[in-house]
């Protein structure tokens, strides 16, 4: 397998706070890499550095050996790396088609045939029939697909998806998961995925890295990562794991790690799974 994107010793410091701390990351060609971690772990900051919207304090990002970090988002997009936003940000004053056309035109500075390419992407994201509408009329799931479509229209090699599943209802979540898979299968993209909805990450990702307080604390196959004691500690909190290990259990009790390990990781409470909040109407996010 060839590595398509590599982040070397990537750090970002905001004043005294180290939002991202010496993270190393490799993305293989055609891979879906999940990035998980508690709130404030630095996931979105990591994305912003890879996508070129903020310059790293140290380190660099390479796409097939060429540095793409530290410039502008445009440089990253031209090279072939594009991101979506956790809180969807469609261009409210453009129609759905025009939103995607902006990506098609400016992504690779190719105005010719932009309309046709945009329509093809809309087809792919099941938004074709919404083309002449304003994005305000879409459901949250629709706007998330629009966000994805706009990014796809820039014809990237690597797609950075920031929570495209969280917040939509279960049926739409499944649809989005299928869409992400077909982005890889049919369009041949490599994907890095930040996601809070654990089952989705587990099913979609080939590999997962875990961030906590800016540091990469674990990496591996999804099934292995969820059993990692440091990961569990990060999710349940230091005190919980400390208490668990300090507890003088009865003789012959399992090690704290395996004993406390839940079958699957709990979802952080701030980001409810679709199952727990089945309906988040069309106006979920503003």
């Amino acid at each position: 397998m060839t590595v398509i994107l590599r982040a070397e010793n990537l750090s970002k410091r905001f004043g005294g706070l180290k939002a991202v701390d010496a993270v190393e990351l490799e993305l293989n060609d055609g891979e879906i890499l999940g990035v998980i971690g508690p709130n404030g772990a630095g996931k979105t900051t990591l994305f912003s550095m890879i996508a070129g919207s903020i310059p790293p304090t140290t380190g660099r990002v390479l796409l097939e050996g060429n540095v793409i970090s530290g410039g502008s988002p445009r440089r990253a997009v031209r090279a072939g790396v594009v991101r979506t936003h956790q809180i969807v940000r469609p261009f409210q004053n453009l129609t759905v088609l025009e939103n995607v056309m902006v990506g098609a035109i400016y992504g690779k500075a190719r105005p010719l045939g932009a309309r046709e390419r945009a329509l093809e992407v809309l087809d792919f994201c099941s938004l074709r029939d919404r083309a002449p509408q304003l994005p305000g009329g879409l459901t949250l799931a629709g706007r998330k697909r629009l966000e994805l479509a706009r990014a796809l229209a820039t014809e990237p090699r690597v797609l950075l998806l920031d929570e495209v599943i969280a917040g939509v209802n279960p049926a739409e979540a499944l649809h989005m998961a299928d869409l992400i898979r077909s982005v890889r299968e049919k369009r041949g993209l490599s994907i890095i995925l930040i996601e809070h909805v654990m089952p989705a990450v587990m099913r979609l990702s080939d590999r997962v890295i875990v961030l906590d307080a800016g540091k990469k604390i674990a990496e591996g196959k999804p099934q292995q990562v969820v059993k990692d004691s440091r990961v569990i500690a990060a999710y349940l909190g230091e005190s919980a794991s400390a208490a668990a290990s300090a507890q003088p259990g009865p003789a012959g009790s399992p090690t704290p790690t395996s004993g406390a390990a839940p079958a699957s990781l709990p979802t952080p409470p701030a980001n409810p799974t679709p199952a727990s909040i089945p309906k988040k109407g069309p106006g979920g996010h503003q």
């Binding site: 905001f14 996508a51 919207s53 903020i54 502008s72 988002p73 445009r74 997009v77 031209r78 594009v82 991101r83 936003h85 809180i87 940000r89 469609p90 261009f91 409210q92 004053n93 453009l94 129609t95 025009e98 056309m101 902006v102 990506g103 035109i105 400016y106 992504g107 690779k108 500075a109 105005p111 932009a114 002449p132 509408q133 304003l134 305000g136 706009r150 990014a151 229209a153 820039t154 503003q286």
Partner: protein
Amino acid sequence: MKLLPHWVSRPALVALLAALVVGAVLPKVLGLSVYSQNQVTETFLFVAAALAWNWMGGYLGQVSFGHSAMFGLGGFISARLLLALHLPFWLAWIVGGLVAAAYALVWGHPTLRLRGPYFSIATIGVGEATRLVMTYWEDLTGGSSGLSLPITPGLKSELYWWALALMALVIAASYSLRKSTFGLGLLAIKSDVDAAADVGISPTLMQDIVLLLSGFTVGVCGAFYASYQNFIEPGDMFGFDRSISFVLMAVIGGVGTIIGPALGAVVFVMLRQYLIGSYPQLYLGIYGLLLIVVILFEPLGMMGLFFRIARRFGLMRPEVEATLEAKAAVGGGAADPGARQGGAP
């Protein structure tokens, strides 16, 4: 063979050409008096200036209260060139416009990274600082006594056609800046600067280009105004009232629409003529009231009224009307108005 880009609509082109022809034969057909013809010339001139202001204020959502700086600079540079070098006036206009555009870039490139109110207030500062400096820079502006330009016989009536051509060019530019792929990028920037940057747009570059075009055009208008008036002084050319007048024309007609500011300029020139004649003490307050009333009741001005009528009588398909209205409106982006582009939080 395709002669025109795909975004040029034939009806729009035909309408512009027709208007141009009507404008060209108007003085002859109506037998306009010298006075009326001059009024029309001035109206054409301000239509051009208002549209150029709208490229910043409406297309980018960057409301400038300092466009008098470029208007005045264009005027005085071209006046000095006419006096010193006896250049043909059109050449002097172009040079005046270029200097104004360069000046716009000098202050605009740094300030355009600011959005919304932050940018607007910076422009108040730029406008006032320019006025102060220019009022005392006697070598350029002649100080408070101003500059007189030689009166060329017949020039005033000839300027009618020049103003018509200038206006037609600016209308065509306004149309292109909205409908072209470049225009789509501007709309994206207005809606959400950061999201636009994330799909490969360079907001800095595009905003600079628009400012250059806007500054150039307003500079040419100032230069034109100088030749047309024969006498200019800094208090009038660089005054705050001058900047406000551009804002008002656009607001009355419809900020952010393609043709609204042109309608607004027509109304404004007539209104000002009337007010200065009848209520010289009140005109500032009436401008203020107009701003308040338009913003409160019809933020898209005359075009907003037109949209309303179109909706009422089914002249336009509702979704077409809705998308037109959305393009004119200031974007609905989530970004803080004071936030810088692509900056760290």
